[in-house]
């Protein structure tokens, strides 16, 4: 219950600064304009291969970096203020994470609509299932991002996490499918849940459920690690 109060508060805050919502979509939209024609023209794949990758990119760059928000809350004493209330720290974390998930969903839908205008033709149930998968994964990403922000502190968060999302993005095969990768790179890629999510998204957009099982297992394991870990960090007395 408290988590919903927190989520609603932060959603209203986000809505007040509407540019934040659109700004998150700008970067993947730029890929539609400047990268999409090259990607599809070079015969790597059609829009239904590119756009799942852009969804992954969106999730990594928004939810993955959302810890930024708590850096400011920490600096301005907001975090401390929330922590002396009877609200459980778990609810404070989950509320923020739910806000990020809802925001991502809105941004992802905007991206899909834009992509349709560029020529994306994909299975509708596939896209809906894909959104569910991406949002579920993003819950873990956002939780980890907050945990990283509280652990690394104000100065280190941006450079460390900003750099960490780059290999994660490349390894997921979001921008170029990993089909042509050497074995070591392919193995590294398979070790991340993000690769399996991107593969499953591409299958879903094409109307198939191939690899969906692996993606669900991957996301499940990811959440099973990320949420308890973030909860622990939130419960730490000095966080």
């Amino acid at each position: 219950m408290t988590a919903f109060v927190v989520a609603a508060h932060y959603l209203r805050e986000t809505y007040r600064h509407k540019f934040v919502i659109f700004f998150g979509v700008v970067q993947p939209a730029l890929y539609l304009v400047f990268f999409g024609p090259v990607f599809t023209g070079a015969g790597i794949g059609d829009w239904d291969v590119l756009v799942p990758g852009l969804l992954m990119q969106l999730a990594l760059l928004t939810c993955g970096l959302t810890g930024f928000n708590i850096v400011f809350d920490h600096r301005f004493g907001v975090l401390e203020r929330l922590r002396v209330t009877p609200a459980s720290r778990f609810a404070l974390l989950v509320g923020r994470v739910m806000k990020d998930a809802v925001l991502l969903l809105v941004q992802a839908v905007i991206l899909l609509v834009l992509a349709a205008a560029f020529g994306l033709r994909a299975s509708l149930p596939g896209m809906v299932a894909g959104l569910v998968l991406v949002v579920a994964m993003a819950l873990g990403l956002a939780a980890l991002s907050y945990a990283a922000a509280l652990t690394l502190g104000d100065e280190l968060f941006a450079p460390v996490v900003g750099t960490a999302v780059v290999p994660l993005l490349l390894l997921s095969g979001a921008l170029l499918p990993m089909g042509g990768a050497p074995t070591w790179l392919d193995v590294a890629s398979q070790a991340t849940p993000f690769r399996h999510v991107v593969d499953a998204l591409r299958a879903l957009f094409a109307g198939s459920v191939e690899g969906l099982g692996w993606a669900v297992v991957g996301v499940g394991l990811f959440l099973a690690v990320a949420l308890p870990l973030a909860t622990r960090v939130f419960n730490r007395e000095n966080a």
Binding site: T2, V6, H9, F76, V78, L82, V84, P86
Partner: protein, 242 residues
């Protein structure tokens, strides 16, 4: 209202608070006076459940600090040093969130926000952001955050730090007008003198003197709290604070 016995806190082997006993009674304004680094904030953070004591016991509003932290949290308000709003947030929205986190319904939260803003003379400031306020107004908005759920005990950490003399005097009169139990920390001698019913002087993690400002001055046969501090610790306060 607050009762602490032998409260201690060590950070990586360094003793920040070395066994503090203190009692604060209902409706009393008690000031914790000491130089920076004396252990004031650490004690305040322990009493507000933000920090676990290394040893010792305390009850706040009848709730045990260690075994019932959530009972303590429900009964207290806390105004941190240096503010509690992000600059571009909306005062009304933040206050509503705060009230709701104490379990009030949306409607009750709205009612309380209007009421508390009136109480600190910021009626109609719901849609203003803290960045647009003067220093004194911003501190009053912080006070409102600590008061919106009508706590039984209010903790204020350096409430007038960084304010100009006029704004400080003004804030003192607001604080005095609250008519609730208040425990505050300060390194301003004039603040302790003007605002507090009782003063606890803390130095090096220990309480070295306590009493009303008048008693302290009388007992040490001096004219100001400055001189009391000098007599008790052997050092002038200003020098230590620098």
């Amino acid at each position: 209202m607050i009762e602490a016995r032998a409260l201690r806190r060590t950070f990586k082997g360094v003793e920040a608070v070395r066994g503090i006993d203190l009692d604060v009674h209902e409706r009393e304004i008690v000031g914790f006076l000491g130089p920076n680094g004396a252990g004031k904030t650490t004690t305040l953070r322990m009493l507000t459940t933000l920090l676990k004591p290394t040893s010792g016991t305390a009850t706040v509003a009848g709730h045990d600090l260690v075994s019932d932290p959530s009972g303590v949290r429900k009964s207290i308000g806390y105004v941190a040093q240096g503010g509690m709003f992000t600059p571009l947030s909306l005062i009304g929205a933040e206050l509503r969130l705060q009230a709701r986190l104490y379990g009030h319904s949306a409607r009750e939260a709205r009612r309380r926000v209007g009421e508390v803003l009136e109480r600190v003379d910021l009626a109609g400031f719901e849609n203003r952001s803290p960045a647009s306020l003067s220093g004194g107004q911003a501190r009053r908005a912080d006070l409102a955050l600590g008061l919106v759920h009508t706590p039984r005990v209010l903790f204020l950490d350096e409430p007038t730090n960084g304010l100009d003399p006029r704004a400080r005097a003004e804030l003192w009169s607001y604080i005095r007008g609250l008519k609730t139990t208040i425990f505050l920390s300060t390194h301003y001698l004039d603040e302790a003198d003007a605002l507090c019913d009782r003063v606890l002087i803390i130095d090096g993690g220990r309480i070295v003197a306590s009493g009303s400002p008048a008693e302290l001055k009388r007992d040490h046969a001096v004219g100001t709290l400055d001189e009391v501090f000098l007599t008790v610790t052997g050092r002038p306060m200003e020098q230590v604070a620098a």
